[in-house]
């Protein structure tokens, strides 16, 4: 255990944010499911319906936040799982970089989809 640590600790923040996003996601994921499978049946979803929902600023913001938190929660979760499997050194750094790129790509693509769906833009 030779390595030492700065007072600003990424481990702390990642752990904490994982919990904060979890709390948000419990609500957001439940809402998303209820909205698109129970309130609106998945089989009857149309572009018009989607566009109408995405036109609401509140709904749009919620979906965007959902995207970002889910991306963080998922990517961070994957990273933790890999680190727990014993990833170290260069391999660990490489995995971290790939995951960050994948996460950003997910958010960018997701944002483009959202914009395409929303009549606000």
């Amino acid at each position: 255990m030779a390595e030492h640590y700065s007072s600003f600790n990424r481990g702390t923040w990642r752990w904490f944010l994982q919990r904060v996003t979890a709390v948000f996601l419990i609500g957001a994921l439940a809402f998303h499911f209820v909205m698109l499978h129970f309130v609106n049946h998945a089989a009857s979803i149309t572009f018009a319906g989607t566009e109408a929902r995405m036109g609401g600023i509140l709904y749009f913001t919620l979906m965007m936040t959902f995207l970002v938190t889910a991306a963080f929660h998922g990517i961070n979760g994957v990273y933790n799982a890999l680190v727990n499997m014993g990833l170290k050194g260069t391999q660990k750094k490489a995995v971290a970089a790939i995951l960050v790129v994948a996460g950003i790509a997910l958010i960018v693509q997701g944002t483009r989809v959202a914009i395409a769906m929303s009549p606000m833009f």
């Binding site: 919990r19 979890a22 709390v23 996601l25 419990i26 994921l29 439940a30 499911f33 499978h37 129970f38 049946h41 998945a42 089989a43 009857s44 979803i45 149309t46 572009f47 018009a48 989607t50 995207l67 889910a70 991306a71 998922g74 990517i75 979760g77 994957v78 799982a81 994948a102 997910l106 693509q109 997701g110 483009r112 989809v113 914009i115 395409a116 769906m117």
Partner: protein
């Protein structure tokens, strides 16, 4: 020590029969997490294909109705409906056990962590079963 014998990682998971509740909870949480993150990427990919954000894609050529037709086409497949039930089960478990873990993080109910794991399993099962009629409506 001249030499020593490492029994390798098989010793962790080769003994699944002896795993306790907390260990199963961790395994299921991790598994459902992997599925959900995988689905997240797939979901965005399907949507972006359907809605045609990339210039030159089939969706763009086909106009915006491609989105509706893709989704409805998928929904007509029985297998997709079943997969959706599975997805719901996975998401509900991840949420239920996630709530359990949040309580554990807050230091609440640590002594009955095994019971809360069983409770999250039961709840997941109940919610999944209850949602089957809604999910399968229209294809059966």
């Amino acid at each position: 020590m001249s030499q020593s014998y490492d029994r390798g990682t098989v010793e962790s998971f080769g003994r699944w029969r002896e795993f306790s509740a907390g260990m199963w909870a961790w395994i299921f949480h991790k598994l459902t997490g992997w599925i959900l993150v995988g689905y997240l990427f797939t979901h965005i990919a399907v949507l972006s294909t359907a809605i045609g954000v990339d210039p030159g894609s089939a969706a763009v050529a086909d106009g915006t109705d491609f989105y509706t037709s893709t989704l409805q086409g998928l929904e007509e497949l029985l297998i997709v409906r079943f997969l959706e039930v599975g997805l719901l089960a996975v998401a509900v478990f991840h949420i239920m056990n996630g709530i359990r873990l949040l309580f554990v993080d807050l230091g609440i109910g640590l002594t009955s962590q095994d019971k809360s794991f069983y409770a999250s399993l039961v709840l997941t099962g109940a919610i999944t079963v209850a949602s089957i009629p809604t999910f399968l409506a229209g294809v059966l």
